[in-house]
Amino acid sequence: MLVQLASMRDAYAEVLLELGAEDARVVVLGADTSVSIKTSLFGDRYPERFFNVGIAEANMMGIAAGLALAGKTPFVTTYAAFVPGKCLDQIRNAIAYPNLNVKIVSSHGGLTVGPDGASHQTIEDVATMRSIPRMHVVVPADAPSTKSLIAQACRTLGPFYIRLSRPSVPTIYSASKDVEVGRAKILREGSDIGIIACGIMVNEAMEAAETLSKTGVSAEVVDSHTVKPLDSETIVRVARKTGALVTAEEQNVIGGLGGAVAEAITESYPVPISRVGVRDTFGESGEHQELMVKYGLTSKEIARAAKHLIKSR
């Protein structure tokens, strides 16, 4: 089967141009990473609605808050290593607290930014942003769903954090209308184990399900792109059906999607859970595939966790 790869950044840049055309309130802010993330394309087309503030993330968030207070829909973008890291206070106090319509889109999330090393790898952002009241947190799996989820975020009042990864990823969604903010998507039906994934780990989850099926294990795969508000209803339903869950994310296993699923399940239908993700350690330089293997972010790791859960049942 021919696997089609597409970049989430390209998808983001494309949807920004579309949103910019249909909604004059859309403005875009960058912090000296606009060429790399390709939001500069928006700036080329709409220079009066594009603001590059230099390497000053805190100021960028504060300015975005002011723009939103004056009726704009700001998209704020830089690398996930700096958002929320360098501007959590501004995000919390100036954006989330007053419930402003600011869309924070970070790129280069997780370990797969690769050779830049641990300072530029982000494994805490989903957990951090999830803990802020009023904040939506979305981690898309591929290019078409990136486009669709960002367009929906634009039309939904309130603060959003949308986290993208750097590598081009296999396309999972053929039609972007299949995906809805706040609603987890069942991508594959199964009965023995449920795999709840987000971001680039959704593709790994699909591959794991394929591998498992060859050994007679039927896995249900869920794209939980919206980590907050979590679609607990769907996840609890999968837990009831399969009796055990594996979560998979390009984040620290503490507090991200794994944490969110564990919280939801524990409160309403406890089943054994295994969390696949970065095991509370910093990354290092390396090619993105090498890092995924070394830090256990692979379909193999998901399949291994699934089998272990089933065996110990």
Binding site: A56, A58, G62, A65, G66, L69, D89, Q90
Partner: protein
């Protein structure tokens, strides 16, 4: 000059009333920040009762001038000014810092007239830049004012913002620094020396004015000059005294964040009214 038409008597009355309200509400709340509220009274009075285009009956009027209280701990002066201007009943002032009140310890923009929740220091100037940029994009002629504390200038974000505003040629933005010389731990020049403050802003390409922050004519004259400046933002360094109007609070860092007890407040307000 506009100077002839400045209704100084009315402004003085408003300032006196607002000073009383600050003391009464902080006394009632038994906590809060009287010092930095009292130092900014004349600045807010000049804006809300003279300079700014605003309508308390339409707090969301798109063409209104905007006031951002970046030094959010001075919430008492903002709330008392807004109430006096008619944004909400003055009777509500005594609910400051109480459970279920809109009047939070630091401004919450649920309150009509509050433009920005400035609790965490350093963010307000950035937010004011955002509002000013939106005004430029929308080709509106509203102005944006941001009041910063001098201690607040320690925050790095202030200087990120200071660098950005001239880049965007925001002549619709006026920053005002309440230069009362005191921050929570002591004198600003001991905690983190910031002089020469004016030169710093000048080096960042701002139009810089220095005034006596208690002199209505000087404050208003500077606000007018800021408005006529083209292509550059203006910063007004307003020299003030922390705790202004209450002899034992003036120049005492202890009254940055401490409320006088209620009896003291009653006596004080009585004396001030007699004056």
């Amino acid at each position: 000059m506009e100077e002839q038409s400045i209704p100084i008597g009315m402004l003085l009355q408003k300032a006196a009333k607002i000073r009383d309200d600050i003391l009464l509400m902080v006394g009632e709340a038994k906590s809060g920040h009287p010092g930095g509220s009292l130092s900014a009274v004349e600045i807010l009075v000049s804006l809300f009762f003279y300079k700014m285009r605003h309508d308390p009956k339409r707090p969301d009027w798109p063409d209104r001038d905007r006031f951002v209280l970046s030094k959010g701990h001075a919430a008492p002066v903002l709330f008392s000014t807004l109430a006096e201007a008619g944004y909400f009943p003055t009777s509500e002032l005594m609910t400051l810092r109480k459970l279920n009140s809109r009047l939070q310890g630091h401004p919450d923009h649920r309150v009509p007239g509050v433009e920005f929740p400035g609790g965490s220091l350093g963010i307000g100037l950035s937010a004011a830049i955002g509002m000013a940029l939106a005004g430029k994009v929308d080709k509106k002629d509203y102005r944006v004012y941001a009041l910063l504390g001098d201690g607040e200038l320690d925050e790095g974000e202030t200087w990120e913002a200071a660098m950005a505003a001239p880049k965007f040629k925001l002549d619709n933005l006026t920053a005002i620094v309440d230069r009362n010389g005191i921050q929570q731990d002591g004198l600003t020049e001991q905690i983190m020396p910031m002089e020469p403050v004016g030169y710093k802003w000048k080096a960042f390409n701002w139009h810089v004015l220095e005034v006596d922050g208690f002199d209505f004519r000087q404050v208003i004259d500077a606000l007018e000059k800021a408005e006529s400046m083209r292509n550059r933002p203006t910063v007004i360094i307003a020299h003030t005294v922390k705790g202004k109007g209450v002899s034992f609070m003036e120049w005492d860092p202890a009254y940055h964040g401490k409320a006088p007890d209620k009896d003291t407040v009653r006596k004080l307000v009585k004396t001030m009214l007699e004056e």
